[in-house]
Amino acid sequence: MKLIFERSKRGRGCSILPECDVPVVLPEGDRRERELHLPQVSETDVSRHYTELAKQTYGVNDGFYPLGSCTMKYNPKVDEETAALSGFTEIHPLQPVHTVQGSLAALAKAEELFCEVTGMDGMSFQPAAGAHGEFTGLLLIKAYHKSRGDLKRTKILVPDSAHGTNPASASMVGFTIVNIPSAPDGGVDLKALKQAAGEDTAGLMLTNPNTVGLFDRNILEITKIVHESGGLCYYDGANLNAVMGVARPGDMGFDVIHLNLHKTFAAPHGGGGPGSGPCGCKDFLIPFLPGPRVKQAEDGYRMSRMETSVGDVKAFYGNFAVVVKSLTYILMLGKEGVAEAACNAVLNANYMMRKLEDLYEMAYPGTCMHEFVMDLGKLKHETGVSALDVAKTLLDYGIHPPTMYFPLIVHEALMVEPTETESRETLDTVIAIFREVYRRAKEEGEKLHQSPVKAPIRRPDEVQAARKPVIRYEFTEA
């Protein structure tokens, strides 16, 4: 495919703006000192270019997308329509408060509903993504201990199966990380947790179901151990899709959480973003929530910042349009639809797991939640075919591979999360493909090292990309 710059021809362009209707006056001072290389293309060129790029991009509507830990469910079209209402898109963030009552009502409604789903008492929509929500939640924990003069709490406990953002977020908040090993059953090792929790514990970060797809049966014991040590419990909402409507983090003993609206609540991923990572908390932490708080007064909604807040984590009020999408979604699911989604996410995962476990070794046999982890260590040992080879071979069958090499505690991991928006026929087709790939791994393993062969490109040379980074196009002066 040509780059847009390679389609550029001097003198071409689109006609967008009218002539300037006032005299041209430019500011005094320094002028741009170099030529501005932007594409010079007609509207036909631009349209065709991006259509070509879209064709080489795999979205949820292109097929099965079982990325573990990413919850790639179907994104309802009505969500796009509501977010695109001009009464939302054309609103300046600094308009007078009485002219933005609809936006504030949407935020207030979203806070009410998502608090109910999670068992929290207050929520801020300012965080723009999951990791940003983690950062915010940890700031709350830091501010809470500080407000009590409890300055020795500098450590955050993180299970070794955690997503990389957990330790990275804790680092950004100045905490040191204590890794808690997983027990053989994939849960938190209670003995290790008891040993680690103490008067220097600021808190624990946990995903439940955890990153191996299991609900930690000891959850109440875990949060109790942390609370007894004086620490707080943080719930990473990455895997909420498994249990929403079934169990609430607030009832499991968690004090502060984040949600990934772009996972659990069906907002699309946009090729990497924008997401939305609202941070929710129990009553006693509300005074520390970031950004302006929306409150209902007699004459309508008001916004104000709190003295004790950790501050703003983003300009304005977060990724508002994404919140509108997820608000639309949860209003449609309602009381029963939320649990129905979770039940079917779990059903679909178990269905796939059961129909594959005679061939593929499961890292943690038993009943999984919304995702399961396959351990291809044995297959690799026997045939030389790695998790990467299997993933790349799946591309040739037109499906998106599962998450590879995560969690790190399973060395040849493939993590499968089918979500509730896939039909039985799709699952059956995909199960047959996984089985076929397994057979080929056994019979013609060598060939799979070359996969994919039918995708738009072959495997890219990542070593070259990293050793001699070329991260922009270089223009040759005409």
């Binding site: 090499y405 990542e462 070593v463 990293a466 050793r467």
Partner: protein, 127 residues
Amino acid sequence: MQYPAELKYVKSHEWIRMEGDTAVIGISDYAQDALGDLVFVNLPEAGDSVTLGEAFGDVESVKAVSDVISPVTGVVKEINEDLLENPQRINEAPYEAWFIKVGEITEEEEYLTAEAYEAFAAEEAEG
């Protein structure tokens, strides 16, 4: 796998060559092979202190990053700037691709001979 007899080794897979009072430090053939194609190294600056048993830098492959541990306590006298541009030298010739030279040494780890290290590395590869 090569383990030149004139070098000393430590269990964290670094090699050491003494030049007078200065320790020249790199990573072993076994280490570079286990790490795979290296794409970048992070090195300290001349003048920085390094501490026995602590990381003084790291090496990056495409999908992993690994600490490089100092076998001595002392002060960095020189770094191998060539590695910043050409990390592949570590894969190509691990015993020429030194990372840092350390002087003012106050503490040294117990070194292994080439023979002892080779046995240790073989054991680790098995395990």
